[in-house]
């Protein structure tokens, strides 16, 4: 019965994802019908506008949306399990703040080109994790709270530097670019960006799913994990490193997309009722469902304009979080 429920949920999440992908390929300022898409996939309409729109805009955009949702959802699931904290998300180790600073530096101090922004965001996102791990090591306390505090310190420092960059930025051009980047969007996605992003996400994504048993064992605490034969410090660094690599790569292309990494694991847990077995798979699928739905709204609600993604992910997250807060079961020790 429980296995049937898991299979049914996974099937529903996959079905919804396929439907969202199909709609995402069709919807936009240049609408495509399913019959046109079928024809394009069979090699028809070559060189014509529908085929060009499909291959150069819709497929990269939908694929990056899919990768970003899967990656952020999985990253959130790993963080909440490893840190045994329902408020944990990839932002915990400062990756989003660091990446924002990196992108802002590229805009204000550098050329402001796409590649420079991607490199700046990716490098600064990874640097945030390195700083967090260095702080934890310097504190000589391998506790969950040490990671949280180190993450707060690094995030705050990055946020302060970001504010300084905003002050230095040209208010009409650079400041707007920074603001728009920190709200996330798939509008600027191209096939070349997808080609760079896909391996940087696929490898850590696969490894994180492979290491799901180690992730679950870490949730029992360091002392128990060590007694079971798992070196907690090493495995935590591996899991955080893979997660940060994936999230930094995503954020460098999409900008900061708020709340997906936080909310997807909550929904997956509420649906599945457990944090083992297919839980991490469902976190990833839920993240992709949320992100693709948000992107559809972002490009459909204001004809001729793109709205930032985070507006919709946050609008979706708020009622879900309120519902989770009100319906929270008693007896859990998630914040232990």
């Amino acid at each position: 019965m429980k296995r049937e429920k898991s299979a049914m949920l996974m099937g529903a999440a996959c079905g919804l994802l396929l439907a969202l992908c199909a709609v995402s390929l069709c919807v936009g300022s240049f609408p495509l019908s399913l019959s046109q898409i079928g024809e394009i996939l069979q090699g028809g309409l070559a060189g014509e506008m529908p085929a060009r729109v499909f291959w150069t805009l819709r497929v990269p955009r939908t694929a990056v949306g899919l990768l970003a949702g899967l990656g952020l959802g999985l990253a959130g699931g790993v963080y909440q399990t490893v840190f045994r904290n329902p408020l944990a998300s990839p932002d915990l180790t400062g990756v989003a703040s660091g990446a924002s600073l990196g992108a802002a530096c590229a805009i204000v101090l550098g050329s402001g080109g796409t590649l420079a922004m991607m490199a700046g965001a990716f490098g600064a996102g990874l640097a945030s994790l390195v700083l967090v791990l260095a702080l934890v090591r310097a504190a000589r306390m391998e506790h969950t709270v040490t990671y949280v505090l180190a993450g707060v310190i690094v995030s705050s420092a990055a946020d302060a530097a970001l504010m300084a960059m905003k002050v230095l930025a040209d208010p009409e051009r650079e400041l707007a670019a920074i603001e728009f980047w920190t709200m996330g969007s798939l509008a600027a996605v191209t096939a070349s960006k997808l080609a760079m992003l896909a391996p940087a996400v696929a490898l850590p994504f696969s490894l994180l799913l492979l290491f799901r048993r180690q992730t679950a064992i870490l949730s029992l605490g360091d002392e128990t994990a060590r007694s079971l034969g798992l070196e907690p410090r090493r495995w935590r660094a591996v899991l955080l490193g893979l997660t940060t690599l994936m999230v930094a790569a995503l954020v460098s292309v999409t900008g900061v997309i708020a709340f997906v990494g936080l909310i997807a694991p909550h929904i997956a847990f509420r649906l599945l009722g457990r944090r083992a077995g297919p839980y991490l798979f469902l976190c990833a699928l839920t993240g992709a469902d949320i992100l693709l739905a948000a992107d559809l709204l972002a490009r459909s609600l204001s004809p001729g304009a793109e709205l930032p993604l985070s507006i919709f992910t946050v609008l979706f997250a708020v009622p879900v979080l309120i519902a989770l807060l009100c319906g929270r079961r008693e007896g859990g020790d998630e914040d232990a």
Partner: protein, 256 residues
């Protein structure tokens, strides 16, 4: 089986100083002591969770201090004093984690591993909790789940830090009866930190006393008179009285 030699353990400075003792295979050892005397630190030193300043720990003749976590887990299983059981993990999933070192690190346990985990649960009378969410269990049931997880690990040495702290008297007796049976039938050794002298006197083959980081004793309750046991326990609790019930032959203690 377990040989601890001149072991000094601590965190930023030594808390336990030059502890030495031996525990034979098939025996159950107990450590008594006041809160903060260093009992937990000693267990952590043996299993590699605290800093060892000097000394040696050998299990079945093999030095355990230099071993990797995986190799050490083949020799030593631990039931920590406090170990979180997060919401969303089922009892069976936690107990199966005890089989982690015995299977592939990237796949779940095979049928043999599953059967072993189930046997560990059945031996503690918690088989019917197998599919329950750990968050819905009582504190005592959680403690039994963690113990079953440690038993499933099937290591020759089992360390238990206050294993009965959340159990009612009946379950505390059941737990020690099982431990005694396990050590004797499978020729394993178990070392438990115990706060209840009556429990320790009834079930442990050998008792040690920890006082301000110094381990003393090593008495065998079955071969000791009430007077000897009382003198031993008065190192920790100077007011304690120890008597022997003539009908049952069991020791009981009173703290004035």
């Amino acid at each position: 089986m377990l040989e601890v030699e001149n072991l000094s353990v601590g965190y930023t400075r030594p808390v336990v100083r030059r502890a030495s003792f031996r525990l034979e295979a098939g025996s159950l050892g107990g450590i008594l002591g006041r809160n903060g005397s260093g009992k937990t630190t000693l267990l952590r030193g043996i299993c590699g969770s605290a800093r060892v300043y000097e000394g040696a720990v050998r299990v079945e003749g093999q030095d355990c201090l230099g071993l990797s976590a995986r190799k050490r887990a083949e020799k030593i299983a631990l039931l920590p004093q406090r170990s979180p059981l997060p919401q969303g993990l089922r009892v069976g999933e936690v107990i199966r984690m005890g089989r982690y070192i015995h299977g592939s690190p990237f796949r779940g346990p095979g049928p043999g591993e599953e059967a072993m985990a189930r046997r560990a649960a059945e031996s503690l009378g918690i088989g019917e909790l197998w599919g329950r969410d750990c968050a819905l269990l009582s504190e005592g049931q959680r403690q039994l789940v963690q113990l079953a997880r440690a038993l499933a690990q099937d290591a020759p040495l089992l360390l238990l830090d206050e294993p009965t702290s959340a159990l009612d008297p009946e379950n505390a007796q059941l737990l020690f009866r099982q431990l005694r049976r396990l050590t004797q039938s499978q020729n394993k050794a178990a070392l438990a930190v115990v706060h209840d002298p009556a429990l320790a006197l009834r079930w442990c083959d050998r008792l040690y006393c920890m006082r301000e980081g110094v381990l003393t004793g090593g008495i065998c309750p079955a071969e000791s008179s009430p007077r000897q046991i009382q003198d031993f326990l008065r190192q920790i609790w100077p007011q304690i009285l120890v008597k022997k019930d003539k009908e049952t032959g069991l020791f009981y203690s009173l703290l004035a």
